[in-house]
Symmetry: C2
Amino acid sequence: MAENKGRKILVAVDEGEESAYALSWCLNNFISPRNSKDTLILLFAKKPLAVYSAMDSTGYIFSSSIIASMERYGNEVADRVMEKAIRMCKEFSDEVKVETMVENGDPRDVICEVAERLMVDILVMGSHGYGLIKRAFLGSVSNHCAQNVTCPVLIVKKPKPGDAAAH
Amino acid sequence: MAENKGRKILVAVDEGEESAYALSWCLNNFISPRNSKDTLILLFAKKPLAVYSAMDSTGYIFSSSIIASMERYGNEVADRVMEKAIRMCKEFSDEVKVETMVENGDPRDVICEVAERLMVDILVMGSHGYGLIKRAFLGSVSNHCAQNVTCPVLIVKKPKPGDAAAH
């Protein structure tokens, strides 16, 4: 199998269940638990704080302590997501090579940019990654990435309970 | 690897180079050449003849012999595509289990319908499948399928010559 060449597999992770399922599916279907030369690159995109001139729509100026605590919250989410993702990889196999990346920016831009920059062999992602409302305006992250990256893209949906095709 | 359970891998094939590349990528990255329990299902969607009341826009009535020869041409394309796809699979490995399906209809509907009906583990397809003009109106086939099937979807783009990420 081509995996013996050592592929770079980029997995976009976020706090959603879809992304955890996508990682798990990728591990179980795409990676050899033993003697694999593949490298799994876990990528978390930290959405930028929308602090327009440090003021919210009600005109209150955010104090620097609020901004700092929002920053801190963003970092905590990143840490939590990464810890969980790494744990999933290690539970799958101790031997799997895992790298992590946390980048600031809109997930759609970050994921495409990293996929191209690292020249990965495949991009794996859940099918969502935004809430329903935001997706309606922006289109789904996976949709955007599938259209804009040059590498193969694997989009994994979490089966809903009762899905006929729930594997 | 989960492949040992015997996965059903649906690959949408058509006359384009994108689809041949997607099949080749799938074979090299997703299938074990030896002792695999996976089944590769090659699906070709035969686009319906747009014979509205057997009359074209100039008012000429298509003779039954023209309709028959168009039908024959469609079958020949299906045969040629399938032969090539099967040959690629056999060149990859003699042991790989291959099934073929030719279904009539719009590729977007056919691919989604078959993926659900057969409850496949993954759908693999090239990123195109329509010409540029038609795609602009209808959206790409892969885009439509990625949004509408419940199973994981792998979309493979053929790298253009000079692509930095051409693997």
